[in-house]
Amino acid sequence: MTNPEESNGIGGRPEAPPLPEMPLDVTKSHVAAEFKHEVALTTCRIDPTGRYAFAGAEDFNVYRWEIDGAAESKTIFKGHNSWVRCVDFSPNGELLFTAGYDDHIGIWNTADAEPKPIAMIEAHKGWVRWVRVSPDGKLLASCGNDNLIKVWNLPDGTLLREFAGHERYPYAVVFHPDGKRLASFDLMGVLREWDLESGKQLRSLEAKFMWGFDQKFRADMGGARDMCFSDDGKTLAVAGLTEVTNAFAGVHKPMILLVDWDKAEPQHKFKVDSYKGMAWGVRFHPDGFVMGVGAPQSGNKGAVWFWKPGEEKAFHTVTLTHCGRGLDLTPDCRRFAVAQFDGSLRVYQMTDKAS
């Protein structure tokens, strides 16, 4: 891949250069770009156009880089008064939505040169842990530490619905691709399905293996650290933990759960037995495999795992230079981005290097 700086000397390009059409081979994944920030990152996303990579950080800001641009493309989205651990976009990528631990949802223009929030909705009493935009872009779902799932009208940001029922913090909420239902997953491993039209809860599933109660420290540990549906809506993936043995020391194993959505049953449980740590991100790849990103309990060996459903072991693992805290795919699914604890956002290309 050519160095953008070399090609135009300015740094930052308005359009992504055409990539050489190497065949996809995840085992050849290599770092294609790296962006540095001084503060630990909390999440990362790539916008629907594939132009930008976004990351939340522990300094309350959200950062944007051009994936094919230079480090100087770094742009600060300042507006929240606490951490942002989840962002989403309108389907065309024009709007950015940020879920803040300051009780607010931020709405922004994705591509602004000097971004300021268009609106800050006081969304929950307590952390807003997750936001997702509906497939048709007309609704926004959020969940928060008030145990509520809320659905907002877009673009005006008025409240449409509230779903109550989670007894402990819901960590993530996502729209089903059919746009009619929501799925949410809480600290206790309870998955709930909600019907947007009727406002009622439909089904629920207890995934207690993704939760642990530490008897010694008297605390619950669990929750979805990432969640997404497959494009066909048949499967739901949840990233989190399992086999908690010491909650306060963070001793547990990462797990990616795949739920058969028709049956509302666990379908596959990807666990990394030899790895002490947490799964912080999960994505479906159209080529039929599932990806997860993880952070170890201690040390630097963050990882990206690649599984084929039905197989117990990952068929490939990419070792990161530090804990992985977020994962997203580019729209063409040939590259992925990871957000790391050391503040770097790294973009990997899942092909051989161009010669």
């Binding site: 300094d59 300051d102 420290f217 008297r218 929750g223 306060f248 309990q297």
Partner: protein, 421 residues
């Protein structure tokens, strides 16, 4: 796993006290109605200590010394309190409303990051060595002669069986209750009548006294042994207190979780002859997920603690009860890769109030980012002096024990005068 350190025992005559045999099962005090016995206790001016130990190291950032919006401050905000100018972390909304009854010390430097050492320093008010814990010192000086309960009761589940009394008489050692479970073996067998129990115990006592008298140079052990029987008798006489189920109303207010139930029991003990009661709340040692866990743990603590504080205040007992809330250290400014904070004794906080303590005060400060004490650094010795000065002792003077000259407080420290009413 912790270890017991062998302790010094002092030569001291244990005088057995008579105790009220009558039942004195207290009922909940809601709205300030005390039983006659309780009211008498309050009038008599008995002093007490309520000690809440937040085991594991509560994060000062997430409690008494928030640094919102700073580099290491974490995601929580601060909220205003009943005291103008005083802000604490948003995780303590109920406590915030009652800060006009409490004061905060923000400049504690314990010079250790070890659970065990931090705990011992906070309890003993000394850097090292064999000294009695807060509760045992309180038991020694404030247990009335006719006390119906052991002077120092600790409601906890796990943890070391500490010898908390050091050189003070064994009767002032902590009686550790396993949560709110009544001590086992409180009930006599049917086959043993009250009369028979009494006379066989008298016989036992006579034999023990004779043995003790025959080894006059080694009284510490024999008196400790005898004292355990005295304490046992008191517990037997008070078994209704331990066996009573908390009322539905209390459970609703305090919460049905273990900390809630323990605070209900603590209240009952304080109102029915207890002198020093310590409740441990697990756990705060959040090396991972510090923020999620503090949400949980302080969420539990906040409301329950306030109910207990309210009930003591309503009963008119707050003026005579020293209230302490502390940990064995705080947590690191640096947030680690597990979203956790690690041990940090260099700049931590505690809250205190009640008997003899100026309410609504803030003592000391940490720097902007909370990485060090910036003003009025204190050690556990200063805190210890403060507690007992507030209760009316001259902490520079020696303990009231024959044959030994040991100052009550660390001579290298002194009371925090700003906190003394």
């Amino acid at each position: 796993m912790r270890r017991d350190i062998g302790c010094n025992r002092m030569d001291h005559a244990v005088s057995r006290r008579s105790f009220l045999g009558a039942s004195a099962a207290g009922s909940a005090v809601v709205g300030g109605l005390l039983t006659a016995a309780q009211a008498e206790q309050v009038r008599s001016g008995q002093k007490r200590i309520l000690q809440i130990f937040l085991q594991g190291g509560v994060s000062q950032f997430e409690s008494w010394d928030p640094k919102p919006g700073t580099r290491l401050g974490g995601p929580f905000r601060s909220i205003s309190t009943a005291v103008p100018g005083m802000e604490i972390c948003e995780l303590l909304p109920h406590t915030a409303q009652r800060m006009d009854k409490l004061s905060i010390v923000r400049s504690i430097n314990l010079k250790t990051n070890s659970h065990r050492v931090g705990q011992l320093r906070m309890e003993k008010g000394r850097i090292a060595g064999e000294y009695p814990y807060v509760g045992s010192v309180g038991a020694k000086y404030f247990t009335p002669p006719d006390a119906r309960l052991p002077g120092f009761i600790h409601i906890s589940t796990r943890g070391i069986t500490d010898n908390t009394n050091a050189f003070l008489p064994a009767q002032h050692a902590q009686l550790k209750l396993e949560g709110v479970k009544a001590p086992s073996n409180l009930v006599r067998s049917d086959k043993l009548s009250e009369e028979a129990a009494k006379r066989r115990d008298e016989f036992r006592r006579r034999l023990s006294e004779r043995f003790s008298a025959s080894r006059p140079g080694q009284k510490a052990y024999t008196e400790a042994f005898e004292s355990s029987f005295t304490l046992a008798d008191r517990l037997i006489s008070q078994k209704s207190l331990f066996e009573a189920e908390p009322s539905a109303k209390d459970v609703e207010r305090y919460g049905s979780h273990p900390f809630g139930l323990r605070c209900i029991l603590a209240r009952e003990l304080l109102m029915n002859g207890g002198t020093c009661v310590k409740v441990t709340h697990h756990g705060y040692d959040t090396h991972a997920e510090n923020f999620n866990f503090h949400l949980e743990q302080l969420g539990e603590f906040d409301h329950t603690f306030c109910m207990l504080l309210d009930d003591l205040a309503d009963a008119g007992m707050l003026e005579s009860t020293l209230v302490l809330v502390h940990s064995e250290f705080g947590r690191t400014p640096k947030i680690n890769q597990r979203y956790g904070r690690d041990h940090w004794g260099a700049s931590c906080s505690m809250a205190m109030g009640g008997c003899g303590i100026v309410p609504g005060a803030i003592v000391g400060a940490t720097n902007k980012e909370g990485t060090a004490v910036s003003e009025r650094e204190v050690a556990s010795g200063h805190l210890f002096h403060t507690y007992f000065s507030a209760l009316g002792l001259d902490t520079a003077s020696d303990h009231d024990i024959p044959g030994k000259s040991i100052p009550i407080g660390d001579p290298a420290a002194a009371p925090i005068e700003e906190l003394l009413a």
